[in-house]
Symmetry: C2
Subunit: 120 residues, 2 copies
Amino acid sequence: MNAQFKRGIIELCVLTALLEEDKYGYLVINEISQYLDVNENTIYPILRRLTMDGCFTTYLEESELGAPRKYYRLTQKGLKQYKELRDEWDQFIGGVYQILNQGGKKSEEVFERISQRIKE
Amino acid sequence: MNAQFKRGIIELCVLTALLEEDKYGYLVINEISQYLDVNENTIYPILRRLTMDGCFTTYLEESELGAPRKYYRLTQKGLKQYKELRDEWDQFIGGVYQILNQGGKKSEEVFERISQRIKE
DNA sequence: CACAGTACTGTGCGGCACACAATACCTATT
DNA sequence: AATAGGTATTGTGTGCCGCACAGTACTGTG
């Protein structure tokens, strides 16, 4: 999976995951890695950075099966950050689709035509 | 505009722009910058890199208003690269939407509820 | 005790957007 | 002739961040 694609978006995914309820790090990682190929070396630093930036507060809670879990709770600043990032993302992705889908979706037939043109 | 979002995607946009017809650098830049905030310092290096990689061949053609234009023409390898990158992109973006839109789109009413929860 | 799940920290690398800068060619305008 | 603007290339440097790799540490279970 192209690592470049993920740049900046994972941060938005982390904020989204923590929007409606507090979660501990491992849970966030497991949820996100269901859909995207990311690991803890990427998510933990983002959680830390966003906490440093004031987007989350944290608290520890006992776990039934291991070390205590560190829960992350969104702050007002985190919510604001989420909204801004989401708006930017939606706007960005709108532009990308204008470019990628100009002339509609590409079919195998279109690729065949392109392929023929290139050969000449 | 979040520069991180663009990572890797501009390359796909450049390939897409040159899919159906040969174009010169400035035209590609103008087309893409209609929809995304990018400038020549980003596009030219990508055109050069992809040419180095064998995705494009180039040829010069006289212009009516300035220096000769360098046209870029997609190669079979470039078409292959486009397909691969596009597939990766579609797959990636599918995962992102799963995460971003879990529980449907966020409304102001939802944000109000989240905002209240955080205050407690 | 070993192991797995949970959690944090630190280092280093690579890739790329992009600012900044310099060069140069051609035409049209002043 | 000088200037400006569109076209085009090249090079340097910076910053960000995904992520590999590595090490530490706590807890309950087999």
